[in-house]
């Protein structure tokens, strides 16, 4: 008999006084023992809601309105609060999306991990802690013997996520629910966490539900996939079949959005004219500059870049690499401590106050969170009229005409003019955000993670729009993202940042190709590929690199990546790395020569299964 049997499941949300609306409906599936089932879908698809019903839980304002959820033959929807508290955390365990938020900040980690078994009197404290340490070891956590004594804020995000899995495994549950457990992690951290989870699940023959929006991640861990959309099931099937031969049209569109996109823009012809934006030796950060001319907290160190009119530069880096700071410095929001910036060959003042209206107009910034960047009390028309009046001093009638043109440009219907931002979808908000920047008729738009908070399909549409705007308006872009595929789809040139230093900079077509900077190599190999078995193909050296703690920006001049670098030498620890021009066209900050890197990287790629690309 299957461990989990769900049929006719129906969850409703009770709005303020309104009629209940369906969140999910007609859900039915079963999970065999030791099987891993993935629930995949975009935000609002109901995947988490369904996963939570397996714990007999519905979020505030929601209610399990009908259907049956059976675990081991017992009906969960009919359980009393006491029975539910015996089910939850003991027979069915939950691993939450953001471990940083799901751990109680004021309790020690060990107390939280062992709470489930201790409060039920299943184990004395000493035995519980010994078991916890064993699980820590199995999940490859550093310092398994002492990490439990720390508080949540004292360990990294990747470690917290593994600690949360340890907490779930403490009671040897029959079913573990992983709710987007690696979504909040950096890509190099994700690989290792994913690997640890997969090992733990396999070793213990755990039955698991894996909730995710990321098909490539799911492909590594799930036996079977359920594709959800708007609270209904679109397709169910074994992982291999869903990936190779999807039957449903929505599944196909998901796969298309997740697959690597071709380069959309042709390489820029080399021209002699001065670049639109030229940045040299930029140093920026926080705190007051000391007597030696150093910043106490440098976020960016010695960054130089050029953006030609109409071209697009991609900035890639993990959280804390300083990529958003770079945009803020160029926009004048955070004055640089040292270095020069030139716009069309003319020096650009470091602060907003010192810049002229024309300079302000020509550089616009689009922030990641359209939610917070748009004034919630202003209508779309008001939001778009502001820059028109400010930069172009247009008359009312002229403004109205331009606003409509702008909406047309970002492909939004006129009906949205009177709406407030709260009445728009995430994708619509980001389009308004973009239109607001376009209203200034800028020469350069700084796009800071503009698609990161959007679903894959919606994000892909925004990227297409950006490419189109570049073609039509001759806009230059600085496109910041942590997602390599996104950057490569949009940009002619790519710059890779790590802990505030530039690691490599080169044409979009050649970065991420050997020979490359060792960090670029790690980054490229950490991105999950859309094929089962990718995770198994990653060798131990690469996992060890990924395991390293991401470096924080420091004052030292040496290479920031040195602690995680597999090819570091003595000089790396002491000397700042030289800038080398590689034959492929990239500039690389590394002590190693092109030949050394090529030898090391090509030997490894041949040892690993050659990545398959979907057609």
């Amino acid at each position: 008999m299957a461990l989990v049997e769900v049929s006719g499941l129906h969850v409703t949300a009770q709005g303020d006084g309104g009629a209940p609306t369906d969140i999910v409906r007609d859900i039915g599936f079963s999970i065999e023992r030791s099987e891993v089932l993935a629930l995949i879908g975009e935000s609002g698809s109901g995947k988490t809601t369904i996963a939570l019903t397996l714990l007999g839980y519905a979020r505030r304002g929601c209610r399990i309105a009908g259907g049956s959820v059976r675990i081991g033959g017992e009906e969960v929807t009919a359980m009393s609060p006491v029975e539910l508290s015996q089910l939850r955390g003991r027979r069915v365990a939950y691993v939450a999306q953001s471990a940083a938020a799901a751990f109680n900040p004021s309790l020690r980690l060990m107390d939280q991990v062992t709470e489930g078994v201790r409060m039920r009197g299943l184990m004395p404290r000493a035995a519980a802690e010994a078991k916890a340490r064993d699980i820590f070891r199995a999940l490859a956590l550093p310092d398994p013997d002492s990490i439990g004594a720390r508080y949540p804020h004292q360990v990294s995000g990747g470690q917290l996520q593994r600690l949360m899995a340890a907490m779930a495994l403490m009671t040897d549950p029959e079913l573990v629910i992983f709710d987007e457990p690696t979504t909040a992690l950096d890509v190099t951290t994700q690989v290792e966490v994913l690997r640890a989870f997969r090992e733990a699940v396999r070793e213990r023959h755990t039955t698991a539900v894996y909730v995710s929006h990321d098909l490539a991640v799911v492909a590594q861990i799930a036996d079977r996939i359920i594709v959800l959309r708007d609270g209904a099931m679109r397709e169910v099937g074994p992982t291999g079949q869903i990936l190779a031969a999807p039957a449903d049209s929505y599944t196909k569109s998901l796969l298309a959005a997740a697959a690597p996109r071709p380069q959309q823009s042709p390489p820029q012809p080399e021209t002699a004219e001065a670049p639109l934006l030229e940045v040299n030796g930029l140093i920026a950060g926080y705190g007051r500059i000391d007597r030696q001319g150093r910043l106490p907290m440098p976020v960016l160190r010695d960054i130089s870049l050029e953006i030609r009119a109409g071209s697009a530069l991609g900035i890639i880096g993990e959280s804390g690499s300083g990529k958003s700071t770079l945009a803020r410095v160029i926009a004048g929001l955070l004055p640089a401590a040292a270095g020069t910036m030139k716009l069309d060959g003319v020096a650009l003042a470091p602060t907003l106050e010192a810049r002229g209206l024309e300079e302000l107009r020509r550089i616009q910034i689009v922030f990641q969170a359209a939610d917070t960047a748009l004034n919630p009390a202003h209508s779309v028309e008001h939001i778009l009229s502001r820059p028109l009046a400010f930069y172009h001093r247009l008359s009312r009638g002229e403004q109205r005409r331009r606003v409509r043109r702008l909406l047309d440009l970002v492909k939004l219907p006129m009906a949205l003019l009177d709406r407030l931002p709260s009445e728009l979808s995430g994708g619509q908000k980001q389009r308004v955000n973009l239109a607001r920047a376009l209203a200034a008729e800028p020469a350069l738009i700084l796009c800071d993670e503009v698609t990161s908070s959007l679903d894959t399909v919606v994000g892909a549409a925004i990227l297409e729009l950006l490419a189109e705007l570049r073609r039509e308006l001759g806009l230059a872009l600085m496109f910041i993202s942590h997602d390599l595929a996104t950057v490569r789809a949009v940009c002619d040139e790519v710059m890779i940042l790590y802990a505030g230093q530039m690691m490599e900079r080169g044409p979009g077509g050649v970065v991420m190709q050997a020979p490359q900077h060792p960090y670029a190599d790690l980054l490229a190999s950490s991105i999950p590929e859309l094929r089962p078995g990718w995770l198994d193909g990653i060798d131990a050296t690469r996992l060890a690199e990924a395991r390293g703690e991401p470096a924080r920006p420091s004052q030292s001049d040496r290479c920031a990546f040195v602690a995680r670098c597999p090819v570091r030498a003595g000089s790396c620890e002491t000397e700042p790395p030289p800038l080398r021009r590689f034959a492929k066209g990239s500039d690389v900050h590394c002590h190693r020569t092109e030949q050394e890197l090529l030898a090391q990287q090509s030997s490894r790629t041949s040892a690993v299964i050659v990545p398959l690309r979907r057609a």
Binding site: Y57, R60, S85, N104, S106, E115, M119, Q154
Partner: protein
């Protein structure tokens, strides 16, 4: 280390504030029209007599010199001599301060546990009938000023029903005597502060109960009592302690009204009388005590919230 530094900064800030307050109190009391010579000698008296008395009282010195003398006196525990009855201010204040502290302590002993209980239970049963009734009652009580509560209380329980005395003596000889004396003043003070504290406690706890880690604890099968006591309360402790401290310090204002209405011989009554008689040393000393108490409560609250935050405690 970081935490000790933060606490030291708070203490230093408190002391600095007190110093500024002392200047304000001194200047403020000197701006009041008339001085003690008028109160002592009456209005129709020869200028020579006034000048003589002013010299004797040290009122003829320049203001900054008088301030420094007064400040030095305060720091050495001697806030001067009452201008009216020539008794040391310390001696006048001593027993009155004890009386006021007794009244405040009794009020706090009733109000704080009651407020926490109401705040926590309404947060747990959010949206229930109990929660709504408690909320409406609390808002109504906050809106009613203390003097009205006190007057109505006296009319009802002392004048009409003769259950308690209309005047309050600072004596707790026996339990019944204590009830007689303190029931009305303590209840009056309790009403307003309990309602405020309960509401603020509820809000602080609700913020925590909505967080991801509480949902996570629920999904671990943690039962409601343990959920609140072990997981939620310690994270709401900072704001709750602050709410308690703020309300206890606002109690000081209530004490003035209640002491006057019930003729209770406390510090506040003394201060009000001193203002009437222009007895500046006494007014100044009382004002400094009120301010210092306020500062102390806020400081304690600050330190509590620093201590309850593991990010500051352990680094």
């Amino acid at each position: 280390m970081l935490m000790l530094g933060m606490i030291a900064r708070r203490v230093l800030g408190g002391l600095l504030t007190l110093l500024i307050v002392s200047v304000i109190v001194f200047v403020g009391t000197n701006i009041l029209p008339g001085d003690a010579t008028e109160a002592i000698l009456g209005q129709s008296v020869s200028p020579e007599a006034v000048a003589g008395l002013r010299k004797a009282l040290g009122l003829d010195l320049p203001a900054h010199e008088r301030y420094l003398r007064w400040l030095a006196g305060l720091l050495s525990g001697d806030p001067g001599v009452s201008l009216i009855n020539r008794l040391p201010v310390a001696q006048l204040i001593g027993p009155r301060l004890a009386n006021s502290l007794l009244l405040t302590a009794l009020t706090a002993a009733v109000a704080v546990p009651l407020a926490l209980l109401i705040g926590i239970t309404t947060a747990i049963w959010r949206g229930s009938l109990y929660d709504r009734v408690a909320n409406v009652t609390a808002v109504s009580l906050v809106a009613v000023p203390e003097f009205l509560l006190a007057t109505v209380g006296v009319m009802l329980f002392a004048v009409q029903l003769h259950w308690v005395s209309a005047l309050a003596k600072p004596s707790i000889g026996s339990f019944t005597e204590a009830l007689q004396n303190f029931t009305l003043p303590v209840l009056t003070l309790c009403f307003a502060v309990t309602a405020q504290m309960a509401r603020m406690t509820r809000a602080a706890l609700l913020g925590v109960l909505d967080s991801s880690y509480i949902e996570m604890a629920r999904l671990k099968g943690v039962r409601p009592a343990r959920l609140v006591l072990r997981h939620a309360l310690r994270n709401a402790a900072g704001p709750i302690v602050n709410a308690v401290a703020l309300n206890l310090s606002s109690l000081l204002g209530g004490v003035i009204i209640v002491e006057v209405i019930f003729s209770y011989p406390g510090l506040a009554k003394l201060a009000v009388d001193a203002v009437e008689t222009r007895d500046m040393p006494l007014v100044q000393a009382c004002a400094m005590i009120f301010c210092a108490t306020f500062m102390l409560l806020v400081l304690v609250a600050d330190i509590c919230s620093i201590l309850s935050n593991p990010r500051l405690r352990a680094r």
